[in-house]
């Protein structure tokens, strides 16, 4: 009888030690690949978000800086929702990076899930960018967030606000809004705004007294405009 209990106890101990061991070794990726899942939910009322640009990179690298002019790649993303040049440039010019594109437009209330991985480094950061397409040059995302401390089973949740790329005036005209509310032009290399990245001041809309705006009350937004959940897969 005692021996049976002891055998069962051994099994229990073994199981517990395996489970405990898994839990502890979950943090140890020094020679392996770090894989992350990003889930981004569009929290706006009627601002579809352009396909995500998702980039893992070293913490010393930044893709934009508030208060500074936007790169041409950010201008293309923020004015036209095109992430391709940004992802290409990062891949071509920066070592120790990985890039991924979202699966498509993220409609309001919907979530896109992107998996991205690269060789583990102790100084890895994550940048995400996406345009609010019913705007002139509004975009959202996260900028060089340290993801090295994220443990398996302990996702990091972040709330993202809207930025203004500062590369196109917020005239809200149908001709300059590429999203479904306008159907107009996306990227244009002319810079007719302050040429610094700032927090976005919001949509005015025709309902609030901008007579030529193609936008109405439904396109207005408040922050946060997106919820981002970052999970460490391995």
């Amino acid at each position: 009888m005692n021996s049976v209990i002891i055998i069962k106890s051994y099994r229990l101990i073994l199981l517990l030690l395996i489970l405990t061991g898994l839990g502890l070794s979950g943090c140890n990726h020094e020679k392996g690949v770090a894989m992350y899942q990003v889930d981004l939910t569009n929290l706006t009322h009627q601002q579809p978000l352009s396909p995500l640009a998702v980039i893992l990179h070293d913490q010393s690298f930044r893709i934009w800086n508030e208060g500074m002019p936007a790169s041409e790649d950010i201008e293309r993303l923020a004015e036209g929702g095109d992430n391709s040049m940004l992802l290409q440039t990062v891949t071509a010019n920066q070592s120790h990076t990985a890039t991924a594109s979202g699966s498509g437009l993220i409609l309001p209330g919907h979530t896109d899930s992107v998996t991205i991985s690269k060789k583990y480094r102790s100084n890895t950061a994550l940048t995400i960018a996406s345009m609010l397409v019913n705007s002139n040059d509004a975009f959202t995302g996260i900028n060089a967030v340290d993801v090295t401390g994220i443990k398996a089973n302990e996702p990091l949740t972040l709330w993202a606000h809207a930025l203004d790329a500062g590369t196109e005036g917020n005239d809200e005209l149908a001709a300059t809004i590429p999203g479904p509310a306008g159907g107009g032009e996306g990227y244009n290399s002319n810079r007719n705004d302050r040429n610094i990245i700032t927090v976005h001041a919001g949509i005015i809309s025709t309902d609030d007294g901008l007579p030529l705006s193609t936008l109405d009350n439904t396109h207005r937004f408040d922050n946060p405009v997106a919820r981002i959940v970052i999970s460490r897969l391995h």
Binding site: H45, P108, H110
Partner: protein
């Protein structure tokens, strides 16, 4: 004998990660200039419970809270999952700039915290916090909360007394700063999931216009509430 030592060591390790009952001293402040919170519902609950989730459809009981301020359905949902709740600590409305306090004694498994209350005057706006994981260490923690839209009713901004789920219109403006005779801002709710409220539009016409809400008084920007939790 050695085996028993290992067993007790393992059990001790597990025990150190399990939770214990705690006391939460809570203060909530309405940070808006002109929006009232209807009766608040606060809860400590397990990790499977959500009163709402951004990006998901509102439950019928969330809709009743967001459109009419009725927290009874959500309270029942919480009691059914053995949550520890505080209902209506302000004993009615929490006016702009005002604070209220309450205490929740939690059971061991209830280490997540949620809060909801309808915002007036809005169609289906509510102040919300969805399943905050309570910090492990004792201390005083401050959080800033956002305004959500339940996604269940078009934001027509017509104040007509309607507070039952599915009826268009806003139940009331407790501050009595509103207009009347509005034609309605919109008839559509384009995002039918719970999402961040885009804000009241309002107008300045007391006897007509699109909105019965006053754009000078009833707008806001996030955050709209401050929550301070002291964990004993």
């Amino acid at each position: 004998m050695k085996n028993y030592t290992i067993i007790s060591l393992v059990l001790a390790m597990l025990a150190s990660t399990t939770l214990s009952a705690r006391e939460l001293d809570i203060s909530i402040t309405n940070l808006t200039q002109g929006i009232y919170f209807t009766p608040l519902l606060l809860a400590a609950h397990d990790n499977n419970t959500h009163l709402f989730e951004a990006g998901n459809t509102a439950s019928a009981n969330l809709q009743a809270m967001a459109e009419g301020g009725d927290i009874s359905g959500l309270s029942s949902d919480l009691i059914a999952v053995n949550a520890n709740i505080s209902e209506n600590p302000a004993a009615g409305l929490l006016p702009p700039g005002n604070s209220t306090t309450t205490t929740i004694n939690t059971d061991a498994a209830n280490d997540y915290f949620s809060l909801v209350a309808m915002m007036l005057p809005t169609n289906d706006g509510f102040v919300g916090l969805d399943a905050l994981k309570l910090p492990a260490k004792p201390g005083t923690y401050t959080y800033f909360l956002n305004a959500y839209d339940a996604g269940t009713e078009a934001n027509d901004e017509v104040i007509n007394g309607a507070g039952t789920p599915g009826s268009p219109g806003i139940p009331a403006d407790p501050g009595a700063n509103h207009g009347s005779g509005a034609s309605g801002v919109t008839t559509l709710e384009n995002n039918t999931m719970v999402h961040i409220h885009r804000g009241n539009l309002g107008d300045t016409d007391p006897v007509g216009g699109n909105s019965d809400v006053d754009s000078r008084i009833h707008r806001w920007l996030n955050p709209i509430a401050r929550l301070v939790i002291t964990l004993k």
